[in-house]
């Protein structure tokens, strides 16, 4: 077995041997699942009651064809902080609990440890994504079907979206790794992730719907890039397409770019420094 394969197995064992991963997974699945059920029921109820005031073929201003994708994509558009948190914690907990000492004793080539964390978080991020999509697709489709809206599960576009959503969550896992190595303070990393994803980016993206230059910058924000990659999002649905979006593959590259950029800067700074 190579040193890299060994480091990868160790990193996986590290994450699975503490409670954090399943706590985050439960939060993710419960959060996006409940939101998907709630929004699917809400839109379904609007669509069948007389309260729907939009043009024909729409529900609450949303084209019918977009209803199912937006509901399913809640897994990423709302759930993406969770794999990022898992990724950042996989790095910051090593600093916080001083476990970098045993880690680097076992694997003295530090780049190998970071590469192993990337691989493990890509896999776990994808699994988090798969679990979140099971929740949003399962509960969302049930909710839509209950009101006679087509969940579009027979369409290849839907399944392509699901596949891209899994990829987005895998990438968020490594964005988290990059952020963790860039900001090794555990509290700092968590605050940055929560503040940015729940506050800063939503405001910037809302502003991007009204201001041109903000739109140009806004679509390169990590959350916007992620939504572009997935191809549907509650945020873009709300801003009704006024903000321009990247192509899906461009969104993927931008998101990967953030992960690589953070990781490389971190690898050259905090990761290389003395472990005292």
């Amino acid at each position: 077995m190579t040193a890299f394969a060994a480091a990868t197995r160790a990193e996986l064992a590290k994450i699975l041997s503490t409670r954090m991963w399943w706590v985050l997974l439960i939060v993710l699945v419960a959060y996006v699942g409940l939101l998907a059920a709630g929004i699917a029921f809400g839109l379904g109820a609007l669509g069948t009651s007389g309260g729907n005031e939009g043009p024909p073929g729409t529900v609450a201003g949303l084209p019918l064809a977009l209803v199912a994708p937006v509901v399913f994509a809640l897994a990423t558009s709302v759930g993406y902080p969770l794999p990022a948190l898992l990724g950042s914690l996989s790095v910051t907990s090593e600093f916080r609990h001083k476990t970098l000492t045993p880690t680097f004793l076992a694997t003295p080539r530090r780049g190998g440890v970071l590469a192993a964390k990337w691989l493990v978080l890509l896999v776990l991020g994808a699994l988090f994504g798969a679990a979140a999509l099971v929740a949003t697709v399962g509960l969302g489709a049930a909710g839509l079907s209950a009101f006679g809206l087509d969940p579009q599960l027979g369409e290849s576009d839907t399944w392509a979206l699901i596949g891209r959503a899994v990829l987005a969550m895998a990438l968020w896992g490594v964005v988290g790794v990059g952020l963790g190595v860039l900001v090794p303070s555990q509290v700092g990393s968590i605050v940055i992730i929560l503040a940015f994803t729940q506050f800063v980016e939503p405001i910037l993206r809302t502003a991007a719907g009204f201001v041109d230059w903000a739109g140009e910058v806004g679509r390169f924000l990590p959350g916007a890039a992620s939504d572009a990659l997935v191809g549907a999002s509650i945020y873009t649905a709300i801003s009704a397409g006024t903000a321009s979006q990247l192509e899906w593959w461009q969104g993927g590259i931008v998101l990967l770019g953030y992960a690589v950029l953070f990781t490389v800067i971190g690898a050259l700074t905090t990761w290389r420094s003395d472990v005292t």
Binding site: A3, A13, T101, P102, L105, A106, T107, T276
Partner: protein
């Protein structure tokens, strides 16, 4: 049976900001002995060990294990086992999981986990989360990690700290048996008394510099002589000693002078015309401890 290889420090220097934590340290640690790495807290012991293990990058010089720097070792745990500090465990992980993670990462057969847990007496607590461990149990877990790869070289930083008397007795015989098997054993401590029954060789550092290396017996030989003296006219004798540049300490039984033989003090007093009422060389209660404290200076008494 794994065979020990020497540890070599070649002009190792570490500068933190403007302070030299370790200055130009050169020493060799040989297999088959227990070597004590001694010095007061803050003398640079831990920094030196961390440089040896590739955790801290030396500003100058290098430290090698059997001729290789740590990061070039293919399966480092099979060559060197290290226990550095009792706090390096994730509190949410059990002892068994901690060791399993290390075994996986360092390509050591995970079956060794049970062997080393048994060796340090932690088997019955091994599934408990480390958060509930006492300092002594953490020390044992650290030692278990060091033994995981059955290495020929062991590097242990303050392993006796926090152990109960039974644990101290146990680790002393344990270190002795490891050295008797031909392994290289380097043990740091800030208390000579803690390890003097265990170590064969000593490396003593103070303020980042190596101030003594050699056998334990060689340390005793460096102990400064101490003489108890007195005179009917004490102030006159104190004046003579001051003129001679000898450190003198006034006590209830007389004046304790260090760093000079009785003959020199008697001669100085005679030449100055001061009558002596007492001139007695002191038997050292612990020659080793005194030698150690003399070498490391004031802060060694902490």
């Amino acid at each position: 049976m794994p065979t020990g290889v020497p540890i070599e420090f070649e002009g190792v220097t570490k500068r933190f900001g403007t302070v030299d934590a370790v200055s130009d340290l050169t020493a060799t640690v040989l297999p088959g002995r227990v070597t004590g790495f001694l010095g007061p807290n803050g003398a640079g012991k831990t920094t030196t060990l961390r440089m040896l293990l590739g955790l801290v990058t030396p500003t100058r010089g290098r430290a090698t294990i059997g001729g290789s720097v740590y990061r070039d070792l293919d399966r480092p745990f099979a060559t060197v086992g290290a226990a550095l500090e009792a706090a390096s465990f994730h509190p949410g992980r059990s002892a068994r999981e901690h060791l399993r993670v290390l075994a996986l990462g360092s390509r050591i057969d995970p079956a060794r986990v049970d062997v080393v847990l048994e060796a340090v007496g932690l088997t019955q607590y091994s599934r408990r989360r480390v958060a509930g461990y006492s300092l002594g149990m953490r020390q044992r877990l650290g030692l278990a990690a060091a033994l995981l790869g059955d290495p020929g070289v062991l590097v242990l930083d303050e392993p006796i700290n926090g152990l109960d008397p039974e644990g101290i007795k146990w680790i002393r015989s344990f270190l002795r048996s490891l050295a008797d098997e031909g392994r290289t054993v380097l043990v740091s401590s800030h208390l000579l008394t803690e390890v003097e029954q265990t170590v064969d060789e000593v490396l003593i550092v103070a303020k980042g510099r190596l101030v003594h290396s050699g056998s334990l017996a060689s340390l005793e030989a460096t102990a400064a002589p101490r003489v108890l003296t007195d005179a009917p006219n004490r102030p006159a004798l104190l004046g003579v000693l001051r003129a001679e540049g000898l450190p003198a300490e006034e006590g209830p039984d007389g004046i304790l002078v260090s760093g000079a033989e009785p003959g020199r003090i008697g001669h100085a007093a005679f030449a100055a015309g001061v009558e002596l009422s007492l001139l007695a060389p002191q038997r050292q209660v612990s020659g080793l401890e005194d030698a150690f404290l003399t070498l490391v200076g004031e802060e060694g008494a902490l």
